[in-house]
Amino acid sequence: MSLPEKHISNRVLRTPSVSINFEKLEDSQLVSYFSKPGFKEDAFREVLRRYQEPIYRYVRNLLISAHDTEELVTRTFVSLFKKIPGIKWNASLKFFIYRLASNESISFLKQKNPTMDFDNAQKEITEYLEIDSDINPSLIEVKLQKALCYLPFKQKLVFVLAYFEGFDFEQIGELTQASAQSLKSTYEHAQKKLDIYLGVM
């Protein structure tokens, strides 16, 4: 008579009995759940649900290429998940994610082209506007994207943060470690150039 075989089953962690609707939480409240076990994953998914699409658009405004944008968005949120436990939250989550995305974009561009000069324009990335099939090149918004490529990267970054993302110049100054006044003049410069480019195109 043989002994019965042990039924080995994979133990699955039980979800907490308390169910929290993360959609209704504010960013500061959501951040507090990152440190609580059992809620970290759900809180992270809520962060993805809120910020993945805006970050995707922000990075795509900078890089234009869809493939590069997907890679960068992945990198941004992966580094966010890794850095969350050691962060002292003295800034808003949105500001932190945008700073992370900007740094990842800059490091990605440097990695791609070590001799890249951020004071010069990257005109070669305009070809992605024609290659990517999800863009209609005849739209005025796409023409604006093409005109943005003719700006130096620093001007482009300031313009995108102010025009598309709605940041004020103080916040952009904290993000880029520059003064608000210089950023404002940079933004006005960029706007004038873009008006000329759009008038020509």
Binding site: E41, F44, R45, Y56, R57, R60, V73, E141, L144
Partner: protein, 306 residues
Amino acid sequence: MATLESKKLKSPYAPSKEKMNDIAYRIQSNVGVSAQEVFTIRQTSFIEQKKSPVQLSVEFGATTAKIAAPESVQPPIEEENQSVYEREITTQPQKEASPVPSNKYVETEITEIIPDTVDKGLSATENDALTPQIPQRPVPPVYKIATNNSQVQEDYNETPTDEDSLNESEAAKSGVRSVQIPWASILGFVATAMAVVGAWWVWNNIQKPSSVEDVVQTVSDQNSTATIIESSESTKNEITIEPKLVELPEEYRSLNNLLSQQESMQGTYLDFSGSSEPSKINMVKLEKKGMIVLELEDDLFNPLRL
């Protein structure tokens, strides 16, 4: 001109929910979190079709009352007087068919075969009477449709007129048929045969692609040993020139001595005073030609001491 300040433009990038979910899956798997769908995709609801559709009314306005078509009342059909349609088939005396003439061709006999009416000179009416009568077909009865229209009823009551005789084509009567050659089918057959022949020729002439080794082998087999051309003796007589030794005259011997010296010419000094007279004369000639320099101790060439 509209500026960017006046017209707020949006970003043209609108990623789909599927794409966002793909990126979210990738992020969650990289991080080590159980991948779940983050962006919910709304599914379109299907409208169930009702099995019994509501009958809409013809009149304007939404009413559910059904309007039935009035029942059609047909008046009774009257029996027709069939005697009206009966035809009187009249038979007229026909001329008896003349006997079949013999095959013998005689002009005189032909005139006899010709019907008598041609020679007799009958009138038109008499001629018509002799023509064969085509039997009239009986007209099928017409079923009367009950209508209220009196005019239609009168039309139906009218007696039908005589139908025209059927005219048959002379070609069908005579039975003559023209033979048509099917050119299209013949051309098709010829084209098919040509295609088959061409394919057979191409198939036989296509050579199997040979491998590199086979090519090398064939090339090496083709290369035959090079024929060595044997040198043949030329028939031409060789001219041998024997140099003749000529003795230099005495005048040029000293010159020859000078020219045959291996040592550098610079720094060689000749004893002018000790050489013979012909040598002296030759040396002077050489000096004149610029080939040698005679440094004679001559006070004329010394600088003046003042």
